[in-house]
Symmetry: C2
Subunit: 241 residues, 2 copies
Amino acid sequence: MIITSKQNPHFKELKDLLTKKVRDEKNRFLIFGEDLFEIAEKRGKIIETFSTDANLYYDTTLSEALMKDLTPTVTSYKVGAILEKIDYVSNNNNNIIILDDVQDPDNVGAIFRSAACFNFDKLLLSNESADTYNDKTIRASRGGIFYLEVRRADLVEEIKSLKEKGYLIVGTEASGIQDLTKIYTSHKYAVIFGNEGKGIKKEILDLCDFSVGIKIDNLESLNVAHSASIIMHELRKNQGE
Amino acid sequence: MIITSKQNPHFKELKDLLTKKVRDEKNRFLIFGEDLFEIAEKRGKIIETFSTDANLYYDTTLSEALMKDLTPTVTSYKVGAILEKIDYVSNNNNNIIILDDVQDPDNVGAIFRSAACFNFDKLLLSNESADTYNDKTIRASRGGIFYLEVRRADLVEEIKSLKEKGYLIVGTEASGIQDLTKIYTSHKYAVIFGNEGKGIKKEILDLCDFSVGIKIDNLESLNVAHSASIIMHELRKNQGE
């Protein structure tokens, strides 16, 4: 049976997952497109699959119009899935990336992508950062989200607790030092990236052991996701040497 | 006088500049928003300014509806300008960044932004790369475009000519070497970044002296603009030491 009506109760359930509120309540999210689907099959917890192609084996078949209704801003997808959110599991990897109110979903997704590429697997986001599970973030992550343990929390409390556990807490700001040696030779560290316009909040900077920065000319700032990629790459490169 | 009609001939001229064809014919482009306006005043060749605010001193006043009509996808702008395209001037800076069919305007704009931040000022783009002067590219560049000499050309011809002039030609690909020493110790070099999906075309790679790469895990690739930022940062950092 192909679902063709927007009034169909099951389609309404799917569509409700486009809102953060429902995603949070149900602890589920949506992905679209074959590339993400493939990674989700390997690394995610799939609850239900759906497709516009009734001839293939998927749990649910949607008309092309309904699929388009779920993803209005992008080129048409043929497949999608409902997934369970990924748990944050404490493990032995001691490096943490922290985002303090990074608000553009594309930036958060881009940081997820690079974090996965550079083997960072723990991300802590302030509650005011862009939603982790919205379609833009997931697409920009290129599946990176399936390699990460992502958690949202009150950063002040979390950072205080990390300091008690012996973590080196490192801020990033234009005026920071350009030498990362103290970070990558440290046993356990957390590096914080701040809001696109305002940078890291003062109350968070005050908790940092020190800050690092990237020297730039001409413009006011680098994009925060690019800064994160540059610093994550440097940390991994030096750690590997 | 406030222009309020979409049929107004001058408004039509403005709107025509949203298309690449007209931008190319007239050698002009549009910018919007106060941040870009401020940089354009310092570094660009402004032909005409326009605003929704009749009380301020601008050449042309547009109704808010017409301004919105020019920039439908973004939050409302109050000011804008028509600018003359920036000439490519040969100077003594020997480093060139080359984009081989980078097709996403956001990626091209992001590379412009980082290039300006890291003091690269010459960019050469293949004819199939995203248009340099579309609104998305310019916005993503955050004004970086005003610090760059950007030129579009047939890359094979250009690279052959650069080789004759003694340039080291360096490709980027996943399998490339991770050591940039040979680049930043070179007198003159050009580094090439390829298409988002396909990388650098074989005929272009064949012209390269060698390729560099960034080691990654988990995912298939880094975003091309992030790769460019990482490599440009490394080159500048090492050159400065």
